[in-house]
């Protein structure tokens, strides 16, 4: 894992001290709210429906056990005993007090964390594949790239006041688990004909009011030019982005309006000018950062672990959990564990302080002290020996974290919605809870197979509903909550936006509608087709007929 150097430490500590001062000046009345608001937002402190909300950055979703324990401590000491993991791989605390905000930031600084770049029109916390460093299909650990970008972008004077917020996602693998095509910039590691590693560069993706899939503007960018090329993209955007209209200010609108080809040419021109200035990282510096992400000292193990196979054979529940929540690891004898934060009837992404500590303990004992937060609002133990899987599972059962539903219909992404969020038009969490209860039967979920259901409480689409196989958007119609359903979306390497199936459903009928969709799929499915395959073959009509048939 990356460790702060002296510069990082000093910088973060200075920020805490500055913020403490700013809060004191606000509380004494020296600063007005208008003056103070941008300062608190720069430190991740929002004001939501019920209280302040602190969004803490988890760079590329990686946490040490010590950091997770600190989050648990903050939840208990300064909040109401829990935290919410988000689709940006961050964590949000829903009830911090302004009076204690600087103390929380000071506690975070102790474990090399902060809340910078979680708000405002800057380059936000960079996200990455949550299986980084463990995935079998990976070229290189994407977190090295993400960390390089983090260091380059933190407080970058030219890019601290962009036309709008800016999100970068990186994957080192061919299977995209980081939704890179729906980010302002998506980077995918690829190899050129000579086998050298570099990036495919995708720009202009995003969800929200105007959902768009990103366009590839460069098939191969040699690794050493990463920063100069990103700088060229940001410069073109900074100059031409629509500062006059908040709804048109994201880079995706610019790319769409002028076309990906023209945009790429502008970037290329800017890059030719920039690339020989000292923007790019010297090789030694890159190597220094890379060293922090060196693989942990894996033992030499056989690919198959006999004890694990036996446990799987003997215990059906364990076997079921393994089937869904355990993925192949690149090192023989190891496995990747997804810790589901989607218990039946639970709040997607929420974890109690005790659960955070339980995961921290399991990571310390069985996964080289490291935890990941996934954009699907789960946690990941990336490097577990197969021989330890049973013990990890037992530990998760004790912490009520052993739902065997990763990737299934109850593994729902849901934004906070109207239960917490100031911008919401409808609730999303209770809809997720009701769906997960309706499909509680795990055998039934297995029969349905992989299905991504995503819910947002407003058009801002933090719940990624456009790219759910089934997407749900909460809207307000004359003071009543209604839910618009989209079908056929997808967030992986074949990213596509879902299409609206028809008129919206009421709060009371939306869960029935989801069940009707699932039943229609099961009725139409051939030879183990996935949901989107069946939908592509039969079209929307069978679904519409069932959903809107007169009763």
């Amino acid at each position: 894992m990356y460790r702060y150097d002296e510069f990082d430490h000093t910088f973060v500590e200075e920020r805490v001290a500055q913020f403490r001062e700013q809060v004191a000046r606000r509380l004494s009345g020296e600063l007005t709210e208008d003056e103070f608001k941008p300062l608190r937002l720069m430190n991740g402190l929002y004001l939501q429906l019920h209280a302040y909300m602190l969004r803490v950055a988890v760079p590329y979703g990686t946490l040490s056990s010590q950091q997770m324990r600190k989050l648990a401590h903050i939840a208990r000491r300064y909040d109401k005993g829990y935290g919410h993991f988000t689709t940006r791989q961050n964590i949000q605390f829903n009830w911090p007090k302004l009076e204690e905000a600087a103390d929380i930031l000071a506690e975070l600084a102790e474990v090399e964390m902060h809340a910078i770049q979680t708000s405002g029109n800057c380059i936000r916390n960079v996200t990455a594949d949550h299986f980084a460093g463990a995935a079998a299909d990976e070229i290189e650990d994407p977190r090295v790239t993400a960390e390089v970008i983090r260091q380059w972008s933190s407080l970058h004077p030219e890019f601290s006041f962009l036309p709008r917020k800016f999100k970068v996602a990186v994957t080192g693998a061919s299977n995209d688990r980081a939704a890179i095509k729906v980010h302002d910039i998506g980077l995918q590691m690829v190899r050129d004909a000579r086998g050298r590693a570099g990036f495919k560069v995708i720009v202009g993706g995003g969800l929200g009011r105007t959902p768009l899939i990103g366009e590839t503007i460069r098939e191969f960018l040699p690794k050493r030019y990463l920063l100069s090329y990103l700088e060229a993209i940001l410069r073109v955007y900074n100059e031409l982005g629509r500062r006059d209209n908040i709804y048109k200010a994201r880079i995706k609108i610019l790319v769409k309006e002028i076309g990906a080809k023209a945009f790429a040419e502008m970037v290329e021109k800017e890059w030719q000018f920039l690339k020989d200035w000292d923007v790019d990282l010297p090789d030694e510096e890159f190597a220094r950062i890379q060293a922090y992400f060196a693989p942990p000292p894996f033992d030499d193990l056989p690919a198959v672990t006999a004890s694990f196979e036996a446990q799987r054979f003997e215990n059906r529940d364990f076997a079921r959990w393994v089937r869904n929540n355990v993925d192949a690891h690149k090192a023989p004898g190891y496995a990747i564990v997804t810790v589901s934060l989607k218990p039946e009837g639970g709040v997607p992404g929420d974890a109690t302080a005790a659960q955070m500590e339980a995961v921290a303990d399991l990571a310390a004992r069985y996964s080289f002290d490291e935890i990941r937060v996934s954009h699907e609002q789960n946690l990941v133990l990336a490097h577990v020996r197969q021989a330890d899987l049973y013990a990890v599972w037992q530990g998760l059962i004790a912490a009520e974290l052993a739902s065997a539903n990763a990737g299934l219909i109850s593994d729902i992404i849901s934004c906070p919605g109207l239960d917490y969020c100031n911008l919401a038009t409808a609730r999303s969490i209770p809809v997720a809870q009701r769906i997960s209860r309706r499909f509680a039967d795990i055998e039934r979920q297995h029969d349905i197979g992989g299905l991504k259901l995503k819910i947002s409480g407003c058009i801002n689409a933090c719940g990624h509903h456009h790219v759910g196989h089934i997407g749900i958007l909460g809207v307000d119609k004359k003071g009543q909550e209604f839910y618009q359903i989209t079908l056929g979306g997808n967030a992986d390497e074949n990213a596509v936006l879902g299409r609206i199936v028809g008129p919206a459903f009421s709060y009371d009928t939306v869960v029935d509608a989801v069940e009707t969709i699932v039943d229609t799929y099961l009725g139409q499915r051939r030879n183990g087709e996935a949901f989107n395959q069946t939908l592509a073959r039969v079209g929307f009509d069978p679904f519409k007929e069932k959903l809107y048939a007169p009763h």
């Binding site: 509380l27 209280a51 009076e99």
Partner: protein
């Protein structure tokens, strides 16, 4: 016109508060001063925005209420949730203190 009251968040802890008849902010919606005409609403908001409140109140605004004989009730879903707490956590927010709601 729909009856209105003024709500805001308390500066120090962000709690949802309402402007009372005596110009004191409190957590009880039932204790809020109700405006029943546009003039009354404008005057109420002006009182809420007075300099004296700026050191303890954030973002005051008018919200619609249903003006019932006993006490006003929020007219919107959003304000109902603000008044009570998250509908998915009956142990949190003001609802946790109301007997029989948990």
């Amino acid at each position: 016109m729909t009856a209105q009251i003024v709500t805001a968040n308390r500066l120090g802890d962000g709690a949802v508060i309402y402007l009372g008849r005596d110009d004191i902010w409190g957590e009880r919606l039932g204790g809020a001063a109700v405006a029943r005409s546009q003039d009354e609403a404008a005057a109420l908001l002006a009182r809420a925005e007075a300099p004296a409140h700026r050191t303890n109140v954030v973002g005051p605004y008018l919200m619609d209420v249903i003006d019932e004989a006993t006490a006003p009730r929020p007219a919107s879903n959003r304000e109902n949730i603000r008044a009570l707490g998250p509908t998915v956590r009956s142990d949190l927010g003001r609802q946790a203190e109301i007997p029989g709601r948990r």
